[in-house]
């Protein structure tokens, strides 16, 4: 969050020219070492400002140190750079590479070292030191290196000009879900932080300067990143904002997209009715405006809800329709996804040979187009099919491959699914210790991300294992807990489990 909006509104707004003048005077007047922070979000603008300072103070030797990779100790690095140099000001850029936007600042090595070496700088540097930082990094230093921050002589705040904000939004968003979802977790978190900062800055803009297209791009991007790390509630928030703007400016395609995406998020949260509602609205708009890809996606999505509700025949129907459109318009990603969904439906219908065939096609397409999440899903689904065929070792191999990818890209939802499945496979092999371990991990993950289905499955599995181990009371408690969840989310497993519990768990 930009902190400018956090100060009382009767302060005069920041003004770049004024800040720059102050900064120049600070260089001019400083006769010894002082510490300054210069807050500016973009490196190109930082460069321009530093060039301005140099132009204004011709003849003054000034040194710019730009780090291009993470460092842990600024003092040591600076000593290497400025030793023996005659300079009257040192500008440091690139510290953001060392300050992750995610994670806690108190575990960051650079910040820690800054905090303990606060007084050392003046012993090695007889001229003022300016640290140029994007706002998020400055806030981290304020919070986690308070001693260091407290010895500053001042901070200069430079704005992100409106044209820049929208320009940057267009530059920094990627609308390709396959690319987004395939990024490693750390990269996703970094992107989210950048996008959130941009959004906050955008929201601080004057109304006239706002650009709805840019805002929508930003919102849907944020929603997609949130979805990709299983932050479904957050995704819903962003999609709803996106939906509101689409309606406000009568942008039908955008409206249909956000409706579909809302459906996806609610499906993940097992709110099936809501999901169907959104999907159908989205489908109607896609058909109305002739958006074939949108139509195909909605059909596939509806297939997924019916699948989740155990209506496999209906699910297959929808997926076949969706598949046909994807092939017609040459959408490889959509084609792969439909094939995968069909595979899963056939697994549940007991047609394992057919299922494996579909999943292998899905896997091949995913690898071909570099869709990591599709790759992980198909591997996991292959594992399920082999499990049904009682080929436990093979199943475990597939699950582990799938798990590795989910972890890499931070897809916690799929991670918990793989964990549950590994638990089942080990249970079937009679390795109860491992089975319990995996199910407990999965239970934790599911609870953390609010995946009720996964939570129910893990509890169900744990109950089964304890029953087999003869711990009947413990088993029944777990199974009853699982049943409550299954009923709440209308899982097809609910009936079977209810009957079982009624029969075996009477006190």
């Amino acid at each position: 969050m930009p902190t400018e909006s956090a100060i009382s509104e009767d302060f005069e707004p920041y003004n770049d020219e004024r800040e720059l003048r102050r900064l120049i005077r600070a260089v001019q007047f400083s006769k010894k070492h002082y510490l300054y922070f210069a807050c500016c979000n973009q490196a190109p603008k930082q460069n321009e400002l530093i060039a301005d300072v140099k132009k204004n103070l011709k003849g003054k030797p000034m040194k710019v140190v730009r780090f291009k990779k993470p460092i842990t100790d600024l003092l040591t690095e600076l000593q290497k750079e400025v030793i023996g140099e005659n300079c009257e000001a040192v500008f440091v850029q690139g510290l953001e590479y060392s300050i992750a936007s995610d994670g806690k600042g108190d575990e960051n090595a650079l910040i820690h070292n800054l905090n303990i070496s606060r007084d050392a700088f003046k012993r090695y540097l007889s001229c003022p030191l300016f640290l140029w930082l994007p706002e998020y990094a400055l806030v981290k230093i304020t919070r986690y290196a308070p001693d260091f921050f407290s010895v500053r002589s001042g901070t200069f705040y430079f704005s992100n000009p409106p044209e820049r904000v929208t320009e940057q939004i267009f530059q920094s968003v990627s609308s390709n879900w396959i690319e987004i979802s395939s990024l490693p977790l750390a990269e996703k978190l970094k992107q989210i932080e950048i996008l959130e900062n941009l959004l906050a800055e955008y929201q601080g803009l004057h109304r006239e300067k706002q650009d709805k297209q840019a805002e929508m791009r930003l919102l849907s991007n944020l929603a997609e990143f949130s979805f990709s790390i299983s932050e479904f509630q957050k995704a819903i928030e962003y999609h709803k904002q996106h939906l509101a703007i689409s309606r406000e400016i009568s942008y039908r395609q955008g409206e249909s997209n956000s409706l579909g995406n809302l459906g996806n998020a609610y499906l993940k949260l097992n709110e099936h009715r809501k999901a169907i509602e959104y999907y159908e609205q989205s489908l109607a708009i896609s058909r109305e405006i002739g958006n074939r890809q949108g139509e195909s996606a909605s059909l596939g999505n509806l297939g997924q809800v019916y699948y989740a509700l155990g209506k496999y025949g209906k699910a297959i129907e929808y997926h076949e329709q969706s598949l046909a459109i994807s092939r017609e318009i040459g959408n490889r990603g959509g084609e792969g996804t439909s094939l995968g969904h069909l595979g899963s439906a056939y697994t549940d219908l007991g047609e394992y040979g057919k299922a494996i065939e579909y999943h292998k096609q899905h896997l091949a397409i995913s690898r071909e187009i570099g869709y990591r999440q599709g790759e992980s899903a198909s591997l996991g689904n292959l594992g399920i099919a082999y499990l049904k065929l009682n080929e436990y070792q093979k199943a475990i191999e597939y699950y582990e491959q799938s798990l590795a990818i989910s972890r890499e890209i931070g897809n916690r939802g799929d991670e918990s699914t793989s964990l549950v499945n590994l638990g089942i496979a080990y249970g079937n092999l009679g390795d109860y210790r491992k089975a319990i371990e995996y199910n407990e991990q999965s239970l934790r993950t599911s609870r953390e991300i609010g995946n009720r289905q996964g939570e129910g499955n893990s509890l169900d599995n744990l109950g089964n294992i304890y029953y087999r181990l003869g711990e009947k009371d413990r088993a029944c408690n777990l199974l009853k807990e699982a049943l409550v969840i299954y009923e709440a989310i209308e899982s097809p497993n609910a009936n079977v489990l209810r009957q079982w519990v009624e029969k075996h768990c009477q006190n």
């Binding site: 600070a26 001019q28 400083s30 006769k31 304020t142 001693d147 407290s150 001042g154 705040y157």
Partner: protein, 452 residues
């Protein structure tokens, strides 16, 4: 002088991070008992005779503790028979990774170098095998060919120790290995020898160690174990109090205000006696009444500014427009480092002097924005609660308040000088916090406007 030269001079006279030397020292006696504290410390030393005194000295970061201690050292050296050894432990310790032995080592080094520089007192190294061994880690001291030098483990070497964790481990291992001697007992033997020499060779009879910056050591962390050697504030001042009070001469320790006001703090007098001195903020407004200035405090802050302006070739009325000065005085909350920084910042916000109201606001704005970014979400309501309270007190056992004292979100005041009891201590929200949106919101939430 040209305007620009004057501005440059002002800018460099208001350096926020260096304690005031004798040129800049201003005694805020009336508004917080500055020199009264110093006088009291000296009186007690003089009347203590043979007993070694321990003082605890506390106050906010940047409130002027170091300035007072330097002033004290100056007075002691000029007016008493106590030879002061002022140690800025920031030069000796890694605050996150410090042991008791590191502190002893700092004391030995500083005493040795002060006595050598001032009186050319050098001590026989044979009797201090452990110190000699430690000095060996730093290499070529003997090359200088001076007997007695091992004691003077020069600051340059200590710097190495502070920044090099490996070397630190080696030194610690060596101290541990030595079963015959402990660094603690060598320190005490050393102090006794030094004091003997002082009596024989100088006009001084005793030492007084002024251990500054110890309050900057890291706070207690979860998972910290009893047997860990790395000390936190709590562990040092409470857990190691036996050693700290066992040092064979007079010592002043700086303790963190946040620790002193925490539930641990109530135990401190058990170990250190009643000699606890608190340096509060300069009282700048009346208790609980932010808009009613306390004239004496205001004058004392002006005195601080005047002292710093003295060598800049100008005067206060030429530097500030009246409303600008009043604004800075009010919004520094009596915290001296903030005041100094405000003036420094304001001086670059104008093309020409005097500093106007707009420029004054500019410097305060920076502080407001920093607080807005750093105050934790859960603190806002507590800040609003303090603001709305009728007695301006905080809950001493509440860790959040102690963290807010540490970060200066809350400031501590006393009602006058010569205060012995804690009854007259009160608290106020840092004035800059009043200008954040979140604080205003929390306050409004706490005191909803009456419905008509």
């Amino acid at each position: 002088m040209k305007t620009e030269e004057i501005q440059t001079a002002i800018y460099n006279a208001f350096e926020p991070n260096v304690p005031a030397d004798s040129r800049f020292y201003a005694d805020c006696k009336e508004a917080r008992g500055g020199s009264a504290l110093v006088k009291k410390m000296i009186d007690r030393l003089n009347s203590a005779k043979n007993e070694n005194l321990r003082y605890l000295f506390t106050g906010h970061l940047g409130c002027g503790k170091s300035s007072e201690l330097l002033h004290l050292a100056d007075k002691l050296e000029k007016e008493t028979t106590f030879f002061p050894v002022y140690i800025d432990f920031e030069e000796y310790l890694d605050k996150q990774d410090a042991t008791l032995e590191d502190i002893f080592l700092g004391m030995i080094s500083e005493i040795a170098s002060r006595c050598r520089d001032k009186f050319e007192i050098k001590v026989k190294e044979e009797s201090y095998s452990l110190i000699k061994k430690i000095a060996g880690f730093f290499g070529d001291f003997s090359a200088k060919g001076e007997i007695g030098l091992p004691f003077d483990i020069a600051k340059l070497n200590i710097e190495k120790l502070r920044q090099n964790p490996n070397l630190r481990q080696q030194v610690r291992a060596a101290i541990k290995q030595d079963e015959k001697k402990s660094l603690f007992s060598e320190l005490n033997d050393f102090i006794m020898e030094i004091e003997l020499r002082l009596k024989q060779e100088t006009e001084f009879t005793k030492l007084i160690i002024i251990a500054d910056s110890l309050e900057k050591i890291k706070r207690f962390e979860k998972g910290e174990k009893e047997e860990d050697e790395i000390i936190s504030q709590e562990k040092l001042f409470l857990g190691k109090s036996e050693q700290l009070t066992g040092i064979a001469t007079n010592v002043i320790y700086t303790v963190p205000l946040s620790l002193y006001r925490s539930h641990y703090g109530t135990q401190l007098p058990q170990f250190y006696g009643k000699n606890v001195f608190v340096l509060p903020m300069v009282k700048i407004h009346q208790r609980g009444k932010f808009d009613e200035p306390f004239e004496i405090g205001r004058q004392e802050l002006i005195e601080i500014i005047n002292k710093r302006l003295k060598h800049t070739g100008t005067s206060i009325d030429k530097v500030f427009k009246e409303d600008a000065l009043e604004y800075l005085l009010k919004y520094c909350g009596g915290h001296i480092r903030s005041l100094v920084r405000f003036v420094q910042e304001a001086s670059i916000a104008v093309d020409e002097l005097p500093i106007d109201f707009k420029a004054a606001r500019e410097s305060v704005k920076e502080e407001v924005r920093s607080f807005a970014a750093s105050v934790r979400e859960s603190y806002w309501d507590k800040l609003a609660k303090l603001e709305s309270s009728t007695n301006q007190q905080i809950e001493n056992g509440d860790d959040d308040y102690s963290k807010m004292l540490e970060s200066l979100a809350i400031l501590e005041y006393m009602n006058g000088d010569e205060v012995e009891t804690d009854d007259d201590v009160w608290y106020a929200v840092n004035p800059s916090i009043r200008l954040t949106i979140k604080f205003k919101e929390s306050l409004a939430k706490l005191n909803p406007p009456a419905e008509n």
